[in-house]
């Protein structure tokens, strides 16, 4: 079925229907082109046609007339409108032209043509060929290959042939009784069925427009008049015979008029129609009257087109009173005549067709007149409906409606009829909507008027007509609306058309141009037909009537599938499912899937999945490492397997020209956070899993039958074996998302680059696989796209794949089991560990061992902040020791070839470790060079060891006591006595007071006896055996530190780590000096005191004692004992005789020397002599009579320089006395009391 029919022209009945058929071998396009060329010469002037011998139709009779051909190459169905041929003979196809391009026997071709189209009256052949042909037959013509050259003359000749044939044809009609279509076709003819009552018609027309209202009121009036007139007429023509004669005469005249129209004799036709109208009006043959009126209106138009002046017959004025175009004729207007015509009109109609009342066409408003004639025609047709056989077929009725409609549209541009308008009317084309100008004042018909006229079509029951007529009507209406600029109305009509097509059960063959209509309608309803993503994004902002669009699309789909146009069906199905998912109900979606999409998929018309948002997310995750069993249990491998990348030489050069930007770091940080899409680093050969989030927004299940990486990513990553096949696809249930987990293998390293994956190839619903971009969200997507340009839709996942790595493995640890052992405090142990490079292909290029004890771990980073200097020194010394000496890695290799085994010894020294030491980690950093030398891959192996430290030798107590006297020789078996005595013997200025004794309580906490040696400088103790859980006091003689040589006060406490700031002791200067003294005294002892021990049972187990951790800070007394430089003054007391008899005088001389120059203050000092009884150690009272003295015992002195004093004593009683000199000061702020260092004894006999 063809939907592009030419619009019904108002003057259609004047056109000769011509069928063009191809003879020979024509290509479709060539043939259509030839037909189009014929169409160009469709208008033939009668002047150009050779006269024929027929008074009725000879072209000479009206030389200015025209022959109009309408050529069609299809749609020949002779029987279809057979019943109409009597009534409206112009519907018949009169001429058939065979276009011959490959001629054989032309005569036989012509004969065949006649045989094929017997009802056609004129058969012609046009031969299109180079060679001239010779034929006698007047119906065979020759044209050159260009066709145009001789076409006009050829068509003139065809016209002549037609006129001859018409003459012949008409002669057969002359004596036939003409019957109405209803009488011929019987029930097969569809009677016009109006939904409204005829009574309502008047009301409807009455309200149509102001102008027409006036018109119709007049019409009603004239109706009345006419009725009365014809009543009278009927009375005068009493005999029915007369009446039927008149009727057949009228009908004959009408049909003659029709033939004359075809033959181009318009004036004759006008006369015939005029006469016919008069007769038919008399006999009230409404159907034929309407048709005759139609003919006369055509005559008017054609005559105006030829610019021939004519007069409108008075009968028309009577029947169709109309508004004159000029004011003068207003007096002639029917309104005036209303009051007078009762007398005039019967006369006018019955007696003669006098032209007295006829109006010249110049004075008539032709458009209005034609419109009113049309109204009248319709009125008569409606009246005819009550008749049993002479009723108007719906086809006829609707055609008059349509052609009047197109006429009205053509007339809209101006008040009158311009030649352009007439041209349009003749051609049957409608003006373009753009042509309308709102400024046109008073168009003949307003668009509203036209619209309401058009709406009268809907008074008809169009559904009952055959589908082709319906299509014609709807197409015509669509064109009219388009011309009016009513695009929505046009869309509506197109929709009605499509519904009509769909609801029709017959097989319809649609020509391909129906697509244009579908497109058109979709466009009119605002449906964007593009399936592209951009369009979808753009559309988000638009709002439209989505329900309308959905239904419209469903309709389009129905039509397309009806037409079996798979491509178009695919387009609409995808549009529907893709864009209107949310509006479709479940059953609609399932229907769409089952009835349209699935068949189309299997046909291959849908070749890719329609939802671009299928893939929502991709994630990579490493599967839990399952290495060989040797490793798994023994080492926490998760940590080891995290290789990190270290970039060498990445020193960012500071641009000194730049202004300091304090926020630079912040910005840099925020930039790096951008790269959070990097999902991780993987190793070649790593086992990992990819999780794809797929979404199904539809209300049916979708299946994914294949899934893979795209080509770029496929070089590096591939899916491991998985279960997805065509037979066992993954189903995603309706309106849900599903996480698909698949194992992946990493094939090739990406090196330092990142592998970015933004899409996956998937085969959905059995469609061929295609890449789906990852779209995390539909809404944010547009912004993202705008920012990044078109190439990055959605996000990407970035991963890094590193080459295979060497793997360091501990094969075994010798000497110990389970990485933990027990150690005696103070001992050393060596553990050897055997490593292997497990990898068979990668060598370890770099190997470094480090260690960390639990003590170091337990320190806070700011441990040093609150500690005083001396403590800090102790702590840091310990840390230093832990770092440097506690654990030593011996024989550490620096490189390992693949599969190489290396043995490493670890020496643990538990001498100075604190007792809370319970383990350490050996950290092995190793790695290999990347293919680029600037990179290196580092791995870390951490070996934790646990140590249970057992206490061995401890020093719970310490004391320092001065040594005052020498010992008896028999005491010399004791080691320290021997030492002192040896000293006395060897050293000349030996003084016993120069020595102090260090008393150490040494405890053996171990379960076995321990024998130990102590040494201090050149002192070596005897071996002490301490039983288990016993404590022994060991005495160590120490020589006092001489202050002159070692000024402890001035020596600051050293620091182990010098780069610390802000350490403040908060101590005063004196306190600090005191601290220094104590510190250095302690250091003195510690630096010389050594103790080695071995077990009594097993002398191979030896150890050392680190006194630092046992020796507390020294107290004042200890320091005073140990360090000479405590007193500001040196007091020396000497007796001239130490062994005297009674009553002998003895002189005690005291020398007071300031210790340093700065102590030589002029403060007054008090020197007191004190005399003790050596045995009782009691001070002799000053009133004692045992010793007499000369002078006072207490004296005031000022010791700025060396001061000497003497006291004469005379002991009266024998005994042993001790004399002591004591200096005190009177300053209460700094009380001081000093005595001579060594007691001086006086033996009195």
């Amino acid at each position: 079925m063809k939907l592009h029919v030419g619009c019904a022209s108002f003057v259609d009945p004047s056109k000769i229907r011509t069928l063009v058929v191809p003879v020979g071998k024509w290509r479709r396009e060539e043939f259509l082109g030839a037909v189009a060329k014929l169409q160009r010469f469709s208008e033939i002037r009668l002047l150009d046609i050779t006269p024929i011998e027929s008074s009725l139709f000879t072209p000479q009779g009206f030389p200015s007339g025209r022959l109009f051909f309408t050529f069609s190459s299809s749609g020949y169905n002779d029987s279809l409108n057979l019943f109409l041929y009597d009534f409206e003979p112009f519907r018949k196809i009169f001429v058939v032209i065979g276009l011959v391009n490959e001629h054989g026997d032309l005569e036989s071709d012509l004969a065949k043509l006649k045989e094929r189209y017997p009802t056609v009256i004129s058969h012609n052949l046009i031969v299109v060929s180079k060679d001239a042909i010779s034929t006698e037959n007047s119906n065979v013509f020759h044209c050159g290959p260009k066709l145009e050259d001789k076409l006009e003359t050829t068509l003139c000749d065809i016209g002549k042939n037609f006129l001859l044939a018409l003459n012949h044809y008409y002669s057969s009609y002359k004596h036939v009784t003409l019957r109405s279509p209803g009488a011929i076709g019987g029930n097969a003819v569809l009677k016009t069925s109006l939904t409204r009552q005829i009574a309502a018609l008047n009301a409807a027309t009455a309200t149509s427009a102001n102008a027409s209202k006036r018109l119709s009121s007049i019409e009603i009036a004239t109706n009345g008049i006419k009725r009365s007139a014809s009543l009278k007429l009927a009375k005068s023509l009493t005999t029915t015979e007369n009446r039927s004669q008149n009727r057949s005469r009228g009908r004959q005249l009408k049909i003659l008029g029709n033939f004359q129209l075809l033959a181009g004799r318009y004036t004759d036709a006008l006369a015939s129609f005029g006469e016919a109208i008069t007769l038919l009006h008399k006999v009230r043959d409404h159907l034929w009257l309407g048709s005759a009126l139609d003919g006369i209106a055509i005559c008017f138009l054609l005559l105006s087109y030829l610019q021939i002046s004519f007069q409108i017959p008075s009968i028309i004025n009577v029947l169709c009173p109309h508004q004159a175009s000029n004011a003068i004729s207003e007096t002639d207007s029917p309104r005036n005549s209303v009051s007078h015509t009762p007398m005039r009109s019967p006369r006018g109609s019955s007696s003669s067709l006098s032209s007295a009342a006829a109006i010249d066409v110049e004075s008539a408003n032709l458009p209005k007149l034609i419109k009113s004639i049309s109204e009248k025609i319709m009125y008569y047709y409606e009246l005819s409906l009550s008749h049993t056989s002479d009723y108007a077929p719906q086809m006829v009725y609707s055609e008059i409606l349509l052609k009047t409609l197109s006429f009205m549209v053509c007339c809209r541009s101006s008040a009158g009829l311009s030649s352009d308008d007439l041209r349009l009317i003749i051609d049957g084309t409608l003006p373009q909507p753009a042509k309308f100008d709102c400024s046109t004042l008073e168009p003949a018909f307003t668009s509203h008027e036209v619209y309401f006229f058009a709406n009268r079509l809907f008074d008809l029951q169009l559904k009952e007509m055959d589908v082709e007529s319906q299509c014609d009507i709807y197409m015509h209406l669509a064109k009219v609306y388009r011309s009016l600029g009513f695009e929505r109305k046009r869309a509506f009509v197109l929709r009605l058309l499509l519904v009509a097509i769909v609801s029709n059960t017959d097989d319809i063959l649609l020509t391909p141009d129906y697509r244009a209509h579908l497109e058109n309608m979709a466009q009119l309803y605002g449906i964007k037909s593009s399936l592209a993503l951009e369009a979808m994004v753009d559309e988000q902002g638009d709002i439209s009537w989505l329900n309308l669009q959905k239904r419209c699309l469903q309709l389009c789909l129905a039509v397309a599938s009806r037409a079996k146009d798979r491509k178009l069906s695919a387009h609409y199905s995808l549009l529907l499912i893709g864009r209107y998912t949310h509006l479709l109900t479940q059953s609609e979606q399932v229907n769409l899937l089952n009835n349209h999409i699935e068949p189309l998929i299997s046909d291959g018309c849908i070749d890719s999945y329609w939802d671009p948002y299928l893939l929502r997310d991709i994630k990579f995750a490493r599967l839990e490492y399952t290495g060989s069993a040797v490793d798994g249990a023994e080492f926490p491998v998760e940590m080891q397997m995290a290789p990190f990348e270290k970039q060498d030489g990445e020193v960012t050069e500071l641009d000194t020209h730049q202004v300091f930007n304090p926020f630079k770091a912040v910005q840099a940080a925020s930039k790096t956070s951008d790269s959070n899409s990097v999902q991780g680093t993987f190793l070649v050969g790593d086992r990992a899993m990819v999780s794809c989030m797929v979404q199904n927004p539809f209300k049916f299940e979708i299946s994914i039958k294949e899934l893979n990486f795209d080509a770029e990513a496929g070089k590096h990553v591939e899916l491991d074996q998985n279960d997805i096949t065509l037979k066992t696809p993954i189903f995603v249930s309706p309106e849900s998302t599903r996480l698909v987990n698949l194992p992946v293998n990493f094939k090739a390293p990406t090196g330092s680059e990142l592998l970015s994956i933004s899409s996956l190839k998937m085969s959905v619903m059995g469609l061929p696989p295609r890449a789906f971009t990852m779209v995390p969200s539909e809404t944010g997507f547009s912004d993202h796209q705008k920012l990044d340009g078109d190439q990055t839709l959605g996000n990407r996942v970035k991963i890094k794949i590193l080459p295979q790595q060497p793997e360091l493995q501990v094969l075994r640890t010798e000497n110990i089991t389970d990485n933990s052992w027990m150690m005696l405090h103070g001992t050393k142990q060596i553990v050897s560990v055997v490593f292997r490079n497990k990898s068979l292909s990668c060598s370890i290029d770099y190997l470094q061992f480090s260690h960390l004890t639990n003590i170091e771990k337990s320190f806070k980073t700011d441990y040093w902040k609150k500690l005083p200097y001396d403590d800090l020194y102790g702590v840091e010394k310990q840390l230093e020791w832990l770092k440097n000496s506690c654990i030593k890695i011996l024989e550490a290799p620096t490189k390992m070839a693949p599969n190489e085994v290396a043995k490493v010894k670890i020496e643990i020294d538990a001498t100075s470790v604190p007792l809370q030491f319970d383990g350490f980690d050996v950290i092995v950093n190793y790695g290999m060079h990347a293919s680029k030398k600037s990179y290196m891959y580092m791995k870390t192996l951490c070996l934790p060891y646990e140590v249970s430290l057992k206490r061995s030798i401890e020093v719970p107590g310490i004391e320092i006591v001065p040594l005052n006297e020498l010992f008896a020789p028999e005491m010399e078996t004791v080691d320290w006595v021997e030492f002192v005595m040896n000293k006395r013997r060897s050293e000349q200025n030996f003084r016993v007071g120069d020595y102090v004794l260090l008393l150490l309580d040494i405890r053996n906490s171990w379960i076995d006896g321990v024998s130990l040696d102590l040494s201090f400088q050149d002192f070596r103790s005897h071996q002490h055996l301490i039983e288990a859980e016993h404590t022994t006091r060991v005495v160590v003689p120490i020589k006092k530190i001489e202050h002159q040589h070692v000024p402890f006060r001035a020596r600051p406490i050293p620091r182990v780590f010098n780069n610390r700031q802000y350490i403040q002791s908060g101590l005063s200067e004196d306190q600090e000096r005191e601290m220094r003294e104590k510190f250095w005294c302690r250091e003195h002892i510690l630096s010389h005191l050594q103790c080695r021990w071995h077990l009594a049972k097993d002398s191979s187990i030896t150890g050392e004692v680190d006194f630092r951790q046992f020796l507390d800070k020294l107290d004042d007394l200890m320091v005073k004992n140990l360090y000479l430089d405590r007193s500001p003054y040196l007091v020396d007391l000497a007796l001239d005789k130490t062994n005297i008899t009674r009553n002998q005088s003895v002189h005690a001389r005291v020398t007071i020397t300031p210790a340093a120059a700065r102590h030589a203050t002029s403060e007054p000092l008090l020197l007191s002599f004190m005399i003790f009884d050596h045995h009782t150690s009691k001070v002799l009272p000053s009133s004692s009579r045992r010793i007499l003295y000369n002078g006072t015992l207490t004296r005031h002195i000022v010791a700025v320089k060396e001061t000497k004093l003497a006291l004469e004593l005379i002991p009266i009683e024998p005994g042993t006395y001790e004399i002591c000199a004591l200096i005190t000061n009177s300053n209460e702020d700094r009380p001081m009391s000093l005595s001579n260092q060594e007691p001086v004894t006086l033996l009195v006999t």
């Binding site: 102001n210 509203h448 309401f452 600029g485 695009e487 109305k489 869309a491 009509v493 329900n547």
Partner: protein, 171 residues
């Protein structure tokens, strides 16, 4: 006599849709299913006519000029809102379409169904209905969260419009 009522925005987008049914005994009388589908199309098509009438100084309104208000464009001289009511603008087979135009260009359109016979439009009642809906619409517009041309989803609006329909249209 069921009605199908739509408020149509400036981009031919429906802002509010409702179908009013009549209660006849126990029976809800609505549009038959095929008409339910067709109604939006009919209304959409009639927008052409409304827009045509909108700019006419003296439209040949099919309402029979009961209101006598003249065209929409006369609003300058007419104080009341009579001119918003365009009356019967279109018909399709037995269905009659009435329309009302707000000053912001929102089109209130209604299909008057025909179950029994001819549709008789009581212009005064329909006009009153439209005016009250217009008032409701303006109240909706005053909601700061409401954007012009957005669909009206307020259930209060819906229930009030339905109440108005019961009051004026389906007594």
């Amino acid at each position: 006599m069921p009605q199908y009522f739509v408020i149509i925005g400036s981009k031919d987008n429906p802002v509010y849709e409702a179908e009013f049914t009549t209660q006849q005994g126990q029976l809800q009388q609505g549009f038959p299913q095929n008409l339910k589908e067709l109604n939006p199309f009919i209304l959409h098509a009639s927008l052409d006519i409304i827009e045509d009438l909108q700019w006419k100084i003296n439209p040949n309104s099919q309402s029979g000029n009961v209101s006598g208000s003249g065209g929409f464009l006369r609003s300058r001289n007419v104080a009341n809102t009579d001119n918003c009511y365009l009356g019967k603008v279109d018909y399709f087979y037995g269905l009659v379409i009435t329309a009302y135009l707000t000053y912001s260009g929102m089109k209130l359109v209604m299909v008057h169904g025909n179950l029994t016979g001819d549709v008789q439009i009581d212009d005064n009642a329909v006009k009153a209905f439209y005016q009250e809906v217009h008032e409701l619409y303006i109240k909706t517009l005053m909601n700061p969260f409401y954007q012009i041309n957005d669909p009206i989803t307020s259930p209060a609006f819906d229930s009030r419009v339905r109440a108005l329909a019961r009051k004026y249209l389906n007594k």
